[in-house]
């Protein structure tokens, strides 16, 4: 948690509406301002230009991998975690060292991951 006057903004790239709504509620409850993206196009727009501090990227966005957005985030120096229902084997070599939240994850896991991100 920062002590800035602005609440920290988080990019939530998640195509499942139920999951997105739940996470938005939780993140909002935790003091985050949340920008949602269900499609890669939207995700890329936000990653490129939105004033975001953190990002949670579902690897599969309606059938499209979210790695291009990750590339943008990395360039911008914005920390992020991946989330995935997959085992993690399909992640390309360059993203292997990134943190992956295995669905389903609970609040504690989410908080730990975000804390780690913000600490970095």
């Amino acid at each position: 948690m920062t002590t800035d006057s602005h609440p920290p903004c988080i990019l939530l790239a998640e195509d499942e509406m139920m999951l997105a709504m739940m996470l938005e509620d939780r993140l909002s409850a935790s003091g985050y301002s949340v920008l949602k993206a269900a499609r890669l196009t939207r995700c890329l727009e936000l990653a490129e230009s939105a004033p975001i501090d953190l990002a949670i990227l579902d690897i599969n966005l309606a059938g499209e991998p979210s790695f291009p957005a990750a590339l943008v985030l990395r360039r911008r120096g914005i920390p992020f975690v991946f989330s995935s229902g997959y085992g993690g084997e399909d992640i390309p070599e360059m993203w292997r060292n990134e943190t992956v939240l295995q669905k389903p994850y609970d609040t504690r896991q989410l908080t730990a991951a975000l804390t780690a991100l913000r600490a970095a």
Binding site: A20, M21, G87, Q102
Partner: protein
């Protein structure tokens, strides 16, 4: 045709001295006929007899040739001269031969004649080359042509025969001396006759007349001849004669050489003594036999194979089958062909026999072909004939003759059947035990007597049941009883066994009669002398009678009349009836005494009154004792003693008388002595004369004997050398025989040891030999060799044997056949090949049977395995111990992408893949392979670049004792398996993903429901129904393998509880659905189903479905917006309670108007007008395809 009718090269002709045949013959214009007379031992007498009957008026000249001792002056001229008035001269060189002259060969000289002039050449050649008669006859023939005459008189040996051939060859006349039996005399005449060329055999005394007649006739004919020696008048009538002959005999001679025919006609004219051609034609018409004779005359010199095919047909159909029927394999079929000439006839018979009997049981055939002509025999032995072969069909020529340059040679098989030898059917003893005698066209040249003798000869020669074949114009005549006629036309006869011919009928057996004849001649001569002596002594001997024991007179001798006085009455020869009465008493007494005592009885002093004088008579009775001493006859002699008595009287009377008497007596004595002397002198002279003759003869005989002796010595030497040669040959044969034995042993051992059943058959399927294994196939026993195979019962089923053999013999090619055994019986491979003899003649077949049962089983097993290997989808291939690929199946070609041609024979390590595992490398490179089944995987890269994952299994191939001799590999393409494994992995990951996502969704639903639920029961109801809705949609998606779900199904899932009608497909009073058939992808299906659940739940709780009258209408359409299909769905509630807008936004509203557009990237409008809730959903039905 007998060979002696053909020209024989004479020594003179071959020597070519002066070439008398080549130069134009200058016959002296005079028609002197020169007669050459040859004689030897015994010839002097014949000469004398000849000239005693030869008148001096003929135009004949004579040249006498005798064998003379070279170192003795000959008295021949002198001796012959005594018997003729013609001049007899000893020949000298250059002496012209004049008619009515006799020329005698000088001793130690060779006498020839040229242009009518005698040529004397001294000295004579050595004895072994000395043939004075042949030499002269030959030169005479060449010099005088058809004017030459030769006469062969008594003599030993065969000189003259060859010269006689020359004379006959030039158309001259030949005579030979006959004995008293009208047969040719032994020695030279017989040898001359044996040539068959002698025109007449006759006693010497008849010869002059014959010669004179001949000379006259020749003279007449000579006048009519043209310059070429052919009578001009013959040509003019040739056509007529040919027509006559054609009509009578059936042969047309008009195409024959005219001159040859004319000469032959002339010869016939001389024979029939026709002066002119018209006479001869007349003779032809009157004597039907003459046609045949002229016909035969024409045929002389024509010889060919299978002459008179019909006769051979008769042999083939009648004689040969009968002969073969009697024969077993051990027998020898014996055939005699006398007068075989150059062998055509003999070979024809051999061919016929060989063809007829096939290869029957190895029956041996011996054809004795004989002729007196050595040269002809030599040619026959050579068996070489100049093409074309008349009478031989092309088939026979092909089969029985082999071509050698221009000639055809009789094949060995036929040649070996014939034995040629010089032999005279006339002179030599006949052969015996013959099955067949074929003597064709020989008899016609012989006179009847000789024919008769020959036919008897043949009868003797044939075994019982033997056949005789004569020429078509020959017949048995007087010997018809000896044979049965089988084919009248072809002169085929069967020997009759009931008739007997005795060997004494044969010429050489007649030596005894001839000797008897000589003896008889001697006796005759002796009797003649006795007779003459008796005549001389008759006046001086006493009269006598010979009486027998009964006193009948057997002989009267001398002047018995003065003592006889026959009694009156019946005529009687009884001495005592005939004797003068005064004598009867004394004679009777004396005779009785002589018969009784057997001793001589003399009675002196008998007196007899004769002519008025008293005669004193001495009676002598001499008994004639037989060999056993018994007296059967007596001679009674009457000896008058008149003078003695008178002198006795006168001595008593007085002296003067006594002196006178004495003078008389002395004178008588003197006269008697003189006469005796004279007789003695004459006797002496005669004896001297005879002695000279005898001496001459002895010299001649001596000469011949010496010559014979030398010949014998030469012969002995030759015999010794032949003996030597024979021993050499024998030794060679022995060694060959040993070699053959050894070979034979080898072959027998080979045949016995071989496990292959082999049988040798001849052309007629007779068994030659077989190996022991054959007994498994046929019921063969040791005695079955020589039996036909068809008679042996087989253990195998092979009915085509006969036709197969025929085919092999026809095609000369090897035939193979598989004989399948029935049930458990073994299967055989039969290979049949032609049996070739040493000289490549097919003489049967060889059959080998190989038991291929096991091989067949192996073959079928092999075929089965090969089928498996070939049809396998796996690559199956092998390699040999030298690491080379040895087999490559279709599967291997497909899997490895290389054909068998590319691979087989290549090193195994070519199959080492580009990136091998350690195990794979070890396998292909190190050669240290496991001894058992081994398996490993590898990835092969095909030549086209495609990779194939392979599962390899390797196993060594070992023989029965475990030694590896090859390796075998199976490679299986495991691409499918790998893909399936990957798919499964992927499916598991997907499943994992979905489950996790679903659980995350559930988690979110629970979270949201908890947040909005006032209490636990409400939470439970809302949460469970939401889970149920999710579950329903899952069900629908699962039904279609998660490809999608029907929209109407999803809507119905939520609205079904509110329907009045359970049928979901029709509109209901409360629920109305209207839209095209639309399938929703899973994502859309799940999201929309959640939205419908919330709408329906809200409608059921608070909206139109909360009262029975309320309705819900759902309509939807799909349309294309941009490039994507979009769904536009309208939810409209009506008839329900009045709607009041909600005071707070619940989970349901948030899900519908926030969640659905978020997730589906579309737009949703939820409104709460008072008439009923409406919701418009406009979303794309698929994701953007980037």
């Amino acid at each position: 045709m007998p060979s002696y009718l053909k020209p024989v090269p004479t020594p003179a002709a071959t020597a070519g001295k002066g070439g008398p045949t080549a130069k134009t013959r200058k016959r002296p214009p005079i028609s002197t006929m020169i007669v050459g007379i040859g004689a030897s031992a015994g010839g002097l007498e014949a000469f004398k007899s000849f000239f005693a009957h030869m008148p001096v008026d003929g135009e004949l000249a004579f040249v006498l040739v005798q064998h003379l001792a070279p170192d003795h002056n000959s008295l021949l001229a002198e001796l012959v001269g005594r018997g003729t008035t013609m001049p007899v001269l000893e020949a000298t060189h250059g002496m012209r031969v004049e008619p009515r002259h006799v020329y005698v060969i000088p001793p130690n000289a060779t006498l020839t004649i040229s242009d009518g002039v005698l040529q004397v050449c001294k000295p004579a050649p050595p004895r072994e080359h000395r043939w004075p008669i042949n030499t002269f006859f030959t030169s005479l023939a060449e010099d005088q042509g058809d004017y030459a005459v030769c006469v062969v008189l008594a003599g030993t040996g065969s000189d003259g025969a060859q010269g006689l051939r020359a004379v006959k060859d030039h158309g001259g006349l030949a005579l030979a001396q006959s004995g008293f039996d009208h047969e040719a005399m032994n020695g030279m005449p017989a040898n001359a006759v044996a040539t068959g060329l002698v025109d007449a055999v006759m006693p010497v005394s008849d010869m002059p007349a014959r010669l004179l007649a001949y000379q006259k006739q020749m003279h007449a004919a000579q006048l009519k001849k043209g310059s070429d020696g052919v009578r001009g008048d013959v040509a003019a009538h040739l056509k007529i004669i040919c027509e006559l002959l054609h009509a009578e005999v059936g042969h047309d001679f008009s195409q024959y050489k005219e001159k040859t025919m004319m000469r032959r006609i002339q010869r016939r004219m001389l024979v029939v003594q026709a002066e002119t051609v018209t006479d001869y034609i007349e003779h032809l018409r009157e004597h039907p036999n003459e046609h045949e004779l002229l016909f035969r005359e024409f045929l002389i010199g024509v010889t060919e194979f299978f002459r008179d095919p019909v006769a051979f047909e008769a042999l083939r159909t009648i004689a040969i089958p009968s002969l073969l029927a009697d024969k077993t394999s051990d027998d020898v079929l014996r055939v005699w062909v006398p007068g075989c000439a150059t062998g055509e006839e003999a070979y024809s018979i051999a061919i016929l026999l060989r063809e007829t009997m096939g290869s029957q049981r190895g029956l041996k055939v011996k054809i004795f072909a004989t002729d007196i002509d050595n040269q002809a025999i030599d040619r026959a032995r050579a068996g070489r004939y100049r093409a074309p072969l008349n009478g031989i069909s092309p088939e026979r020529q092909e089969r029985w003759f082999s071509k050698d340059r221009d000639d055809y040679c009789v094949v060995k098989q036929i040649r070996e059947m014939c034995i040629f030898s010089p032999h005279s059917v006339i002179k030599d003893p006949p052969f015996s035990r013959m099955d067949l005698v074929s003597c064709r066209n020989l008899l016609i040249y012989l006179n009847n007597d000789l024919q008769e003798r020959l036919v008897q000869s043949f009868h003797y020669a044939l075994r019982p049941g033997g056949f005789l074949l004569l020429g078509t114009s020959e017949r048995l005549a007087r010997n018809a009883r000896l044979f049965t006629e089988l084919d009248k036309k072809q002169r085929l006869y069967l020997r009759r066994d009931d008739a007997r011919t005795r060997p004494r009928n044969f010429p050489n057996m007649q030596r005894h009669p001839v000797e008897h004849a000589a003896h008889a001649t001697l006796q005759q001569v002796e009797n003649l002398i006795d007779q003459r002596a008796r005549q001389a002594l008759e006046p001086w001997s006493p009269a006598y009678v010979v009486i027998n024991a009964s006193h009948d007179v057997l002989r009267f001798g001398g002047d018995t009349g003065r003592y006889l006085a026959p009694s009156s009455g019946a005529a009687s020869l009884n001495l005592f009836q005939l004797l003068d009465k005064p004598l009867r008493g004394a004679v009777r007494a004396a005779a009785l005494q002589a018969f009784a005592s057997g001793t001589r009885v003399v009675r002196e002093g008998l007196t007899l009154l004769l002519d008025g004088h008293e005669r004193s008579l001495r009676l002598i009775v001499e008994p004639l004792a037989e060999g056993d001493g018994k007296v059967e006859m007596c001679v009674i002699a009457f000896n008058e003693l008149e003078l003695a008595l008178r002198s006795a009287e006168s001595s008593t009377d007085g002296k003067p008388d006594s002196e006178l008497t004495r003078v008389h007596a002395l004178e008588d004595e003197l006269r008697g002595t003189r006469m005796q002397l004279h007789a003695a002198i004459e006797l002496h002279e005669t004896a001297g004369e005879e002695l000279k003759s005898a001496n001459e003869e002895y010299q001649s005989v001596n000469e011949e004997l010496q010559s014979a002796n030398e010949e014998l010595e030469t012969s002995t030497e030759e015999m010794q050398s032949i003996n030597e040669e024979l021993q050499t040959v024998n030794a060679e044969l022995n060694s060959k025989n040993e070699a053959l034995n050894r070979l034979n042993n080898d072959i027998r051992n080979l045949l016995d040891s071989t496990q292959i059943a082999t049988i040798f058959l001849d052309r007629e399927l007779y068994i030659r030999s077989y190996t022991p294994m054959m007994t498994d196939l046929f019921h063969l026993r040791d005695g079955d060799r020589g039996r036909p195979i068809t008679e042996i019962s087989p253990r195998i089923n092979y009915p085509e044997l006969k036709s197969d053999v025929a085919q092999v013999l026809r095609d000369m090619a090897v035939t193979e056949r598989t004989l399948r055994g029935i049930d458990e019986a073994p299967t055989f491979l039969l290979r049949m090949r032609p049996y070739l003899t040493f000289d490549n003649v097919v003489d049967g077949v060889v059959l080998t049977f190989v038991d291929i049962t096991e091989s067949q089983q192996l073959n079928s097993e092999h075929a089965r395995l090969a089928a498996i290997v070939n049809s396998s989808r796996d690559a199956i291939f092998g390699f040999s111990l030298d690491e080379r690929i040895s087999s490559w199946n279709a599967g291997a070609e497909r899997i490895f992408g290389m054909t068998a041609e590319q691979v087989v024979g290549q090193p195994l390590n070519m199959l080492l893949p580009p990136e091998p595992s350690e195990e794979t490398r070890k396998f292909f490179v190190s050669h240290e392979r496991p001894t058992r089944l081994a398996e490993f995987d590898m990835t092969w890269v095909r030549p086209d670049g495609a990779s194939v994952p392979l599962a390899i299994s390797y196993s060594p191939v070992c023989d029965h004792d475990g030694t590896m001799f090859a390796g075998k590999l199976i490679a299986r393409d495991v691409t499918e398996r790998v893909r399936a494994e990957r798919h499964t992995e992927m499916m598991l990951a997907e499943l994992n993903h979905r489950v996790k996502n679903t659980l995350a969704t559930v988690q979110a639903i629970a979270q949201q429901t908890i947040t909005n639920a006032p209490d636990l029961p409400n939470f439970a109801e809302s949460f469970l129904s939401r889970l149920l809705a999710l579950s329903h949609t899952h069900n629908l998606l699962a039904q279609d393998a998660w490809l999608g779900a029907p929209l109407i199904g999803i809507v119905n899932n939520e609205l079904a509880p509110y329907r009045q009608d359970s049928d979901t497909r029709v509109d209901d009073a409360r629920v109305r659905l209207q839209g095209d058939e639309t399938h929703l992808p899973p994502k859309q299906a799940l999201a929309l189903s959640m939205a419908f659940h919330e709408l329906a739940t809200n409608a059921g709780k608070y909206g139109s479905l909360s009262i029975p009258e309320g309705q819900v209408t759902v309509t939807w359409t799909t349309r294309m917006k941009g490039q994507r299909p979009w769904l536009l769905l309208q939810w409209t509630e009506s008839g329900g309670p009045t709607v009041e807008p909600p005071t707070r936004r619940g989970f349901g509203s948030r899900l519908i108007d926030e969640g659905v557009p978020y997730e589906l990237d579309g737009e949703v409008t939820l409104a709460f007008p008072p008439g009923g809730v409406t919701c418009t959903i406009d979303v794309p039905l698929d994701e953007v395809v980037l």
